[in-house]
């Protein structure tokens, strides 16, 4: 079966972003970018399913400018078979991304659609569910284990307080939790080989999707800093501070 993996280029997860002086947006000029960590889990899972003989072809797709080719090459180096860049300079919100991905799914007809559970920049966590809705397909979000037999996927999901197991018929949309797997490191020869794999550029305009622009970011700000704390020398001083200064712990 064919697997489609949707990935996003985001600021590296170790970097603490800064707000631009005019508060118009975060300043990501010259900041290290990389593949969204949850999306890397999604790619890794597809590759493992291919190694088990369940998946036959892995297509990685992303949306954005030419710079996004680097994460597609990363996906190809990990083991994806081909990649597709839906080219646009527009900033799309989750619903817009889901609409674009719907067009890609209709073109590619994958049996399995894998995404990360959320992007670590906008922290929305919506795209997979929205895509499933638009395609009228079943969804299994926050997957920490995926087992595929025939046209059915059994998915263990991370929920508040424990786990839940769902059975979904394929095609379905599944979003990856961090616990799904440990993504493999990309080796240099694989990176070289990935340069020869097909990477198609598809202009967004060619997909004939009407996108609304109803959500606008008015401004961004740095959250108020917590006032500086004090260091205590031992447990007794700590307890005394909590009791007398904070009035907690009786």
């Amino acid at each position: 079966m064919k697997a489609l993996i949707a990935i996003k280029r985001v600021v590296d997860y170790n970097i603490q972003v800064r707000v631009k002086a005019d508060g118009s947006n975060v300043d990501i000029d010259g900041v290290k970018m990389g593949i969204n960590p949850f999306d890397e889990n999604a790619i890794e899972e597809a590759i493992r399913l291919k190694e088990k003989g369940i998946v036959s072809e892995i297509v990685a797709v992303t949306i954005g400018g030419a710079a996004n080719q680097d994460i597609l090459r990363h996906a190809l180096a990990m083991g994806a078979d081909r990649a597709m860049l839906i080219e646009t300079q527009e900033t799309l919100h989750s619903l817009g991304v889901a609409k674009v991905l719907k067009a890609v799914v209709e073109r590619e007809q994958p049996n399995l659609i894998l995404l990360g559970k959320q992007a670590i920049d906008d922290d929305a966590g919506q795209t997979g569910q929205m895509l499933a809705a638009l395609l009228k397909l079943p969804q299994a979000t926050y997957a920490s284990q995926i087992t595929i037999e025939g046209n059915q996927a059994t998915v263990v999901r991370e929920i508040d307080g424990g786990t839940q197991t769902l059975a979904v018929s394929l095609p379905a949309v599944i979003t990856a939790d961090l616990r799904l797997n440990e993504p493999r490191y990309v080796k240099l020869p694989n990176l070289m080989m990935a340069r020869k794999k097909p990477l198609e550029n598809v202009p967004l305009d060619s997909l004939n999707i009407s996108l609304s622009h109803n959500v606008q970011q008015l401004k961004v700000a740095t959250p108020p800093a917590r006032p500086a704390g004090v260091m205590v020398k031992d447990v007794n001083e700590l307890l005394s501070k909590l009791r007398t200064h904070e009035g907690i712990l009786g």
Partner: protein, 309 residues
């Protein structure tokens, strides 16, 4: 127009975040209805009807809703949504699974984990792991959002709202609940606890985690949390993870034991009223957000603290 809130429950108990979502919904100054879908939701519906600020409780009752799928809930919510200009829920694994699906079928955007409601369609929410606050305007006809419960007070009870049964569509094919496994605990729920004691990688083992953290949590009637490092190392189960990819807590007292305080962890706890950090490394990031810091060996001072309480 009116506001529709989706109630979360486990069949026996309402999620206490519902009362907080009801407070958030009062910002629109219009009637607030609450939908509860379940196999036998009548008792829970009565509890919702008692919450102040609720206009009516809509009850979808069907044996197939014992463990509803996102698809089934969406089929119930989307037709109802025509009567509402706001659809919201408290942010949780449950609502973030269901509401984006609802929003897409209504062809509207959604805002997740809203911290503050500025006016009818302008919100503040965290981006980049809570390191940036974004003010966002949504012009869609139906506002779909999840709100962070800890930012809103819980609505008190003492009211008697009307309870109405609604029709329930058949469960859609294609997705089926198989099983659930919960980590049983006598402790307060992490998101609701007044005190949280969290352990990190420095605990070194699952045994040490249990031996050091649990007695302190017992003394304080606290919930136990964990950093991602502690969860990944197998010291604590996944659902105890506090942070960007785990749960967000804002208790009165948060005690971070052996946690370095990476940005992903800070995201989940920096709105706590008082933060105490116990760490051997004086350079640890956690001391930058702690109100009280103690540089010491956790294996010495945590038992001392437990004994002194």
């Amino acid at each position: 127009m009116s506001t529709l809130i989706i109630a979360e429950h486990d069949g026996q108990h309402l999620n206490e975040q519902l009362a907080r979502a009801i407070t958030a919904a009062q910002h629109w100054k219009q009637p607030v209805d609450v939908l509860i879908a379940g196999a036998q939701p009548d008792d829970l519906a009565s509890q919702i009807a008692a919450l102040q600020g609720v206009n009516s409780v809509l009850v979808a009752s069907d044996a197939a809703l014992q463990h509803p799928t996102a698809e089934h809930l969406t089929d119930i919510i989307v037709p109802l949504a025509a009567n509402y200009n706001v659809v919201l829920a408290a942010h949780s694994a449950f609502s973030k699974n269901v509401l984006p699906r609802v929003a897409a079928l209504l062809d509207v955007n959604m805002l997740s984990d809203v911290l503050e409601i500025l006016d009818r369609n302008t919100y503040v929410r965290g981006i980049y792991a809570g390191n940036v606050l974004a003010t966002v305007h949504n012009q869609d006809a139906t506002q779909v959002l999840t709100v962070r419960g800890s930012k809103f007070a819980a609505a008190p009870s003492g009211a008697t709202a009307e309870i109405k049964a609604i029709a329930t569509p058949a469960a859609p094919q294609g997705s089926r609940w198989v099983s659930e496994a919960f980590n049983k605990s006598e402790r307060p729920a992490l998101t609701a606890a007044k005190v949280v004691v969290s352990g990190g990688r420095a605990l070194g083992s699952a045994d040490a985690f249990a031996q050091v953290i649990a007695p302190l949590a017992d003394k304080l009637h606290a919930a136990i949390g964990a950093s991602r490092a502690a969860v990944d190392a197998g010291y604590a189960p996944n659902d105890l993870q506090v942070g960007q990819t785990g749960v967000v807590v804002a208790p009165e007292l948060y005690i971070a034991v052996g946690i370095s305080g990476a940005i992903q962890h800070a995201y989940g706890m920096k709105d706590s009223k008082v933060v105490v950090a116990i760490n051997q490394d004086p350079e640890a990031q956690i001391f930058k957000i702690a109100d009280y810091g103690l540089v010491a060996d956790l294996f010495e001072v945590v038992p001392q603290l437990t004994a002194a309480l």
